[in-house]
Subunit: 215 residues, 4 copies
Amino acid sequence: MGKKVLLTGFEPFGGDKLNPALEAIKQLDGRNIEGIRIVTQQVPTVFYESIRTVTEAIDRHQPDVVICVGQAGGRAQITPERVAINIDDARIPDNKQQQPVDVPIEADGPAAYWSTLPIKMIVSRLREAGIPSAVSNSAGTFVCNHLFYGVLHYLEKNKKKVRAGFIHIPYIPEQTTENGDPSMALDTIVKALEIVAVVSATTEKDIAETGGALH
Amino acid sequence: MGKKVLLTGFEPFGGDKLNPALEAIKQLDGRNIEGIRIVTQQVPTVFYESIRTVTEAIDRHQPDVVICVGQAGGRAQITPERVAINIDDARIPDNKQQQPVDVPIEADGPAAYWSTLPIKMIVSRLREAGIPSAVSNSAGTFVCNHLFYGVLHYLEKNKKKVRAGFIHIPYIPEQTTENGDPSMALDTIVKALEIVAVVSATTEKDIAETGGALH
Amino acid sequence: MGKKVLLTGFEPFGGDKLNPALEAIKQLDGRNIEGIRIVTQQVPTVFYESIRTVTEAIDRHQPDVVICVGQAGGRAQITPERVAINIDDARIPDNKQQQPVDVPIEADGPAAYWSTLPIKMIVSRLREAGIPSAVSNSAGTFVCNHLFYGVLHYLEKNKKKVRAGFIHIPYIPEQTTENGDPSMALDTIVKALEIVAVVSATTEKDIAETGGALH
Amino acid sequence: MGKKVLLTGFEPFGGDKLNPALEAIKQLDGRNIEGIRIVTQQVPTVFYESIRTVTEAIDRHQPDVVICVGQAGGRAQITPERVAINIDDARIPDNKQQQPVDVPIEADGPAAYWSTLPIKMIVSRLREAGIPSAVSNSAGTFVCNHLFYGVLHYLEKNKKKVRAGFIHIPYIPEQTTENGDPSMALDTIVKALEIVAVVSATTEKDIAETGGALH
């Protein structure tokens, strides 16, 4: 039987009118791609509420893979995140005006969790498809990293055999008409997420291909 | 009767396998957009040969507007150029291994020519269409600026009532899969050039809208 | 007899508390460097008033060389400007709340003037001294370019045999403690301007060394 | 009695002729700053050998604080690193031609260690002193992160009450004369490291001041 992939996307934040992560996953909801079934979940850009929303969706959908998607304004590539760290340090308030500074996400959690998505294979396949991509070694310290860490902690604590990780995506052109930041067409982002979903559901073991950073 | 717009695009250079300018204009050749007829011309990335190729195309097609298009690797926006300067200073050789340094393009020419395209209106309309755009104040000192200057000098010397200018475009994603540079989808570039062609053929007088740079 | 070099520096603008150009020239006022005498002039960051201030200083000091210095926030190098263009297009108001858009600086002036400083030799000597430097092909369209153009126009119209040009300098560290922009130590900027002054006063003919830009 | 701070600096790597980290610590060796005694250690840019070199220096010097310093080419600020992760993923070979890809540094180690330096206080004091600084959330996956992780693991395993962390510094101007990368004067870096040493030796508890990243 086919695998099920849960894609999640954040609501707009920080004054933005849209979030390309949410726009992209809407187009994939209910789709069946190469035998993989896609379900989606909209996520509030709010500390903890975001984690609860996604872990409830995991319980409801029982997916094989969870892929959280968020906007990384200023990046030009699709960037699978390597590692989630146990800290909240918010440069701006979340959508409920919370702004934690240097507080652990889970008091009893480890300092970090690794993504369990095949991040190197994802980068490799995206590039083959002509889509700019690279591994990222930091998901920041705002709600994106928070959700990423929270989901991995939940799966670990509950011993669920579910793959999970986080994918940062660029702005779409409509968001950068005046400011010179890089962007990526929504169509390209949607195509990228299809590839990410299929690769994540079908790759047993990640490849070992250089993808590191000097600093 | 409808106006005619000549779009020109450079051949790949500097080791690149394709030039998005050429890919984009190919898709527009022979098109009729809002009553505007598009003709196109492929241009060798070679000093002087590029100017001859385009001025011959002008004589052959007798267009109302000439829009030269070139790749500006590293830029994230569609950038209409404001000014062409009378200098060649090549950081890399052209496609015939010529590398002039600090030589005037036309010994008897003025230091600079202004684009006669409505560059502020172009930026305004592109942004309205959701496409990142900004005026650029330098087309560099390689073959792009060379052609831009050469075409304006030819039109001036021969007193031709033809509008002309230069539009720099970003890389397309296929060119930046690994390197982190910004890119723009080819579809978006093609749509942008349609808008540039129509606006250039139909705008009598440019708008005065801030578009300058501090430096 | 030794040559005289007039260095000019702008007052702070755009909300900045200091202007590194002004800080740097203050340290050089009255100095005698390798037989070259340095005089300086503080310049209001105001359209036209800036030109009047500097042309009056030229009449008063009768220098052999005029080097206008301005801040280029965001650049990491000392950048001698190649060309001044005949346009004001202000993104922000000047210090007297004037904000011209797409207006020629001199109605009867040519589109552009070339710097008459030996810009390639300047870059070469600065690099030899371990100071980051590159030619810039655009001084923008604000008061820096305005003064640069205005001074060259005045010298041309009055047939004065005075060399003149514009040097953009980076922020100093005090201005960028929080924002991630590049900066350069004030000491390094002062040392750079000493070299620029001496090279400009003593180099008969500029060298032809690649320093161009692709775009 | 005064505290002792061990500063370590890497040898040049990746084709560079010098490493500003090494140049800076040489100037601080043996210094006594506000009652703090500085000792230093040169470190080979080699996986594991770097960790051995520094842990041996710790055993020899018995410092109160260990501050490892490395070059982060392209950054414009002094960046205290927040977290070390248990992975080697080398984009280029180290100085002994080793290039591990996706291998844990310590097979039995946790995914990450937090810096035990007061990173927020360091940033705050550097900014007060007019020196650009910000927290970094990734030390990369090359020898810098490797040493950072290895030292913290050693201290943890051996229950040593020693503070430790990693500070990335920019290029110095001599390294960027031609390429447009940001740099910082060596004097400024030395002054910054003095402040880092004193703050690290004297701050009991770090401040909670926003210093996070959105991504």
